[in-house]
């Protein structure tokens, strides 16, 4: 049964996309991301490939769990994008498509980047063909993968940042959600974008700002998620906006 078959049908009129399901999926993304972050971040020792490699090998099951959490989070995000697309289509269908593509490219970049998350385990494994390399070389390759993974995450966040900004604009135009949520999503998106670009331009400044920007953006997204989960959307106002959009389309045709 597809998600769109679960649309709420409280009265006559167009079926409303399941906003609470979007909230639930968004919550899975949030929980999975936080779990992945905390399960892996303590294993990395800055500037010490050997110690990082030892930590990863010593906590391999936890490292793998972090990877699985990322994978589940990424898959859930695609569901969020699909439902929010349907939800905001009456506001501005074109902007919705552009936002959805920003989100999907973010998911694709993150998905491809997951290879870099798991690759250190291959380099640090015991496959016979790895005997050609020195231990230090394999540790260096594992570190390159982790570096690629960190940069890839920031690049994925750039696209998610644009996605959050566009969702913020769509909320401003929507009558079925409080405008304050639009501002919250705008803050979240701008926070991710600032975090990524400052990190690219000046890693040391990025590191010191990360502790401030990450909680601001993360909490903003959590607030939006909780709103969707607890309150959903104002169904009658959503129908009203969807009907106006449909009438305008018919009038033009």
């Amino acid at each position: 049964m597809g998600i769109f078959a679960m649309k709420e049908r409280t009265s006559n009129g167009p079926p409303v996309p399941p906003a609470r399901l979007a909230g639930l999926l968004y919550m899975i993304v949030v929980v999975a991301s936080i779990f992945a972050l905390f399960s892996q971040i303590n294993l990395f020792v800055r500037g010490d490939a050997a110690a990082t490699a030892d930590n990863i090998l010593a906590s391999e099951p936890l490292f793998r769990l972090g990877f699985v959490a990322l994978l589940i989070g990424n898959a859930a995000y695609i569901g969020v994008i699909a439902i929010l697309y349907e939800l905001f289509k009456p506001v501005n269908a074109t902007l919705c498509v552009i936002a959805a593509f920003f989100g999907l490219v973010g998911c694709a970049v993150s998905g491809v980047n997951m290879v870099n998350n798991l690759a250190p385990l291959s380099f640090l494994g015991e496959a016979s063909y790895l005997a050609t390399f020195e231990k230090e070389q394999l540790q260096a390759l594992a570190r390159v993968s982790l570096d690629l993974n960190v940069v890839g995450n920031d690049i994925g966040l750039t696209f998610f940042g644009f996605y959050c900004v566009l969702i913020g604009f769509l909320i401003f135009g929507a009558t079925f959600l409080p405008r304050a949520l639009g501002l919250i999503m705008l803050v979240a998106g701008l926070g991710w974008l600032t975090n990524s670009f400052i990190g690219f331009l000046s890693p040391s400044l990025g590191d010191s700002l990360y502790g401030y920007l990450m909680p601001v953006s993360g909490l903003s997204e959590i607030l939006f998620t909780l709103w969707l989960l607890v309150f959903g959307v104002n169904v009658s106002k959503w129908r009203e906006q969807a009907n106006v959009g449909a009438r305008n389309q018919e009038d033009y045709e």
Binding site: T94, F101, Q137, D251
Partner: protein, 239 residues
């Protein structure tokens, strides 16, 4: 009234597409020039030294390249909005190809930043760093040419829709279709027979550059011409 508002929004999308064509072009050419200037052919140590001395400039160039990748989605979104009334499925299909291109170019950006670590980190042996650089360069080249295939596919469809709608002069749109075909041939040649294709240099990309700059300038200065498409649509609309 609604038709007028709709036309006004289409005019806005046409100008946005025009501007984004030029912006995306600049966002890829400028970093290419900057990053190429660091390379000392056949001398990894000198290249690494050049990059380490201008690390900030390298970071700015790679960031602009990433902004260019994100701008591709805005460009294709504007073209989609402009052309969906001509054929919504084809316009969406073209948008999909260009989003794939943006994904691949983002992967290139990932490798660029990781390569920077390799250039500036002096703790590893020079030979190992050179080997890693070669691996990363191969990744950048392969991802770029696959991205060019996606660019060619998306552009061919968008230019076909521009040709069909006559929003821009048909000659320019037809040239865009031809340039897209040439670019896909050029990109596949690089993937299949890289050494022979390298002799072509940037020749395979030049027509696409001309078509995109021409279309960008046209849309930005003159906007889209809706007259012909509106008349055609009115004639075929059921009574």
């Amino acid at each position: 009234m609604i038709e007028e508002a709709y036309k006004k929004s289409l005019r806005g999308y046409a100008r946005l597409a025009g501007f984004m064509y030029l912006f995306v072009m600049a966002a890829f050419i400028a970093p290419f020039v900057v990053l190429s200037s660091f390379t000392a052919p056949g001398d990894f140590a000198q290249t690494a030294q050049n990059i380490a001395a201008s690390e900030h400039l390298y970071r700015v160039a790679a960031s602009i390249e990433l902004i260019g990748a994100a701008a591709i989605i805005l460009l294709s979104g504007a073209l989609y909005a402009l052309l969906k009334s001509v054929d919504s499925n084809l316009a969406l299909f073209a948008l999909f190809w260009r989003a794939l291109e943006a994904t691949l170019l983002s992967a290139v950006a990932v490798i660029r930043f990781a390569a920077l670590e390799n250039y500036t980190d002096t703790t590893n042996d020079l030979g190992v760093r050179e080997l890693l650089r070669d691996l990363m360069s191969s990744g950048i080249v392969a991802a770029s040419y696959i991205a060019f295939v996606c660019l060619a596919a998306g552009s061919a469809i968008f230019f076909y829709l521009l040709f069909k709608s006559r929003y821009i002069p048909r000659l320019l749109a037809a040239f865009g279709v031809l340039a897209s075909v040439l670019m896909s041939v050029f990109a596949f040649a690089h993937l299949l027979v890289p050494e022979q294709a390298a002799a072509l240099g940037a020749l395979g990309m030049a027509p696409m550059g001309i078509a995109e700059i021409g279309t960008g300038l046209w849309l930005l200065i003159f906007g889209a011409n809706f007259k012909h498409w509106n008349n055609t649509n009115r004639d075929t609309r059921p009574a």
